[in-house]
């Protein structure tokens, strides 16, 4: 295996595009090294992004935030302004693995690993986040939900890598929240995950919402019916019931070692209700 450590995005792209073998991007490495260890990956080369300064920064952009592909979960959690704007995205990213894993793991890596149970992805999808892709033909911005196409598979083309995740500007009285269900209190992969992002008007009525679910389908689901259950309401009990029902209806999970179909369908609704209440409170609505 070759270890490559470019210092510019251009170098990285050219190395990635020019390599003839199995060449992987190494951001935090907390998924890639596990795959290598478990014989699920045996790359010919890895390209470490962490020596590219621009990819290690959290930068304001167009009223929102640009988070470099090599920024760790811990660094996001320590960034007060980012946490204030996007508490749900940060809390979701901070749920990936242990404190130790937080020191390395990245949102972009979590996205490209393309696990349906990735914690940060439902939060990014609910946030309307965009992935900035660098490739041989230049740069393009793509909604994050279009990146994973199935377990372990992405829409990235040969030579492309994600250089940053962009989070949009927040209107007033907006907030997001992410909850996941795991058997223990830490260290597990989400059995179900749910993110809610919403905006309230001055009266506390929901004017915009996005709701997404993790680990209930081959990719993270954006659930418009669930968002519609909230929009135009004060996120009261009937709205929450409708939200839960919409999420349970949208969930199309499988039975596996982490949970059953029935369990995931039911808990998708439970988590949606609880996440919406947290987001409502964060946005300044009823506690």
């Amino acid at each position: 295996m070759q270890y490559l450590a470019p210092t510019t995005v251009e170098e990285a792209v050219s190395a990635l595009a020019g390599h003839s073998g199995d060449c992987r991007v190494l951001a935090g490495g907390t998924d890639l090294l596990v795959r290598m260890r478990s014989d699920m990956a045996d790359p010919d080369a890895v390209i470490d992004l962490k020596r590219i300064d621009a990819l290690c920064q959290i930068t304001p952009e167009k009223g929102g935030w640009r988070i470099g592909a090599a920024v760790s979960g811990a660094e996001m959690g320590e960034h007060e302004a980012l946490v204030a704007d996007w508490p749900g995205v940060v809390e979701a990213t901070n749920l990936i693995g242990s404190t130790q894993v937080q020191g390395r793991c990245t949102m972009a890596g979590n996205l490209c690993n393309a696990s349906p149970a990735a914690d940060s992805v439902p939060a990014m999808v609910a946030a309307g986040a965009v992935a900035r892709i660098a490739g041989p033909n230049g740069s393009r911005d793509v909604p994050v939900e279009e990146i994973p196409t199935g377990p372990g598979k992405t829409s990235l083309k040969k030579g492309e890598l994600i250089e940053a995740i962009l989070l949009p500007e927040r209107p007033e009285r907006s907030a997001d929240a992410y909850l996941r269900f795991i058997p223990r209190t830490e260290m597990d992969i989400a059995v179900v995950g749910c993110a809610v992002s919403l905006t309230l008007d001055a009266e506390g009525t929901c004017t915009a919402a996005r709701v997404s679910l993790g680990a209930v389908a081959p990719t993270v689901l954006l659930v418009p019916e669930a968002a519609n259950a909230l929009i135009g309401t004060k996120i009261d009990d009937p709205a929450l019931e409708a939200l839960a029902a919409a999420c349970s209806a949208a969930a199309k999970p499988i039975d596996d070692k982490r949970g059953t179909v029935d369990f995931r369908v039911h808990v998708a609704g439970v988590l949606a209700r609880r996440a919406a209440v947290i987001a409502r409170k964060r946005a300044g609505g009823a506690a």
């Binding site: 270890y3 450590a5 490495g29 470490d48 404190t99 130790q100 894993v101 020191g103 260290m187």
Partner: protein, 159 residues
């Protein structure tokens, strides 16, 4: 297969080593540098026995390539005591009988030190969540948490 030359510092000592491209930092520390204080309990970031710090940040050395250490400052359990002066956490672990077999102890100490550097006055719950990535099978964590809380108090009083 050509090896990679890595220049780094380990516990403040300038250090160089050669490693394979796919070799973890844990293997490099243990097999190249003879620093066997960090342990491999799982190799997949699930047990924390290999905990070290990189530029002061807590990480699993099994989830890092040795090559990634280039230019960074590595901190391991071997650097925690100052000569014969144990770190308060090390002393409290002994006083509270916070270890039985001792295999998880280096990782727990490195992780707990990192906690107290960021949060000198953690609640019991904060300590438990911070240390959730450090598995211990012997103690049930009770005496470990007591040792960490006691060390935190002593360090606060001393500062």
């Amino acid at each position: 297969m050509s090896k990679i030359h890595v220049t780094t510092s380990v516990n403040g000592d300038p250090t160089e080593f050669l490693c394979e491209a796919d070799e973890t930092l844990l293997d490099a520390l243990r097999d190249r540098l003879g620093m066997t204080g960090a342990k491999e309990g799982c190799g997949t970031g699930d047990c924390g026995a290999c905990s070290i710090t990189v530029d002061g940040r807590l990480v699993c050395s099994c989830l890092m390539l040795g090559a990634e250490a280039e230019g960074h400052e590595i901190g391991t359990i071997e650097g925690m005591a100052d000569g014969d002066q144990l770190h308060p956490l090390q002393r409290k672990f002994i006083e509270h009988a916070a270890l039985q077999c001792g295999i998880c102890t280096p990782g727990l100490l490195v992780a707990a030190k990192s906690l107290l550097e960021r949060n000198p006055d953690p609640s019991e719950e904060e300590a438990r969540y911070w240390l959730a990535g450090n598995l211990c099978r012997c103690t049930g964590y009770d005496k470990i948490i007591r040792a960490v809380m006691d060390a935190a108090q002593e360090m606060r009083e001393a500062s």
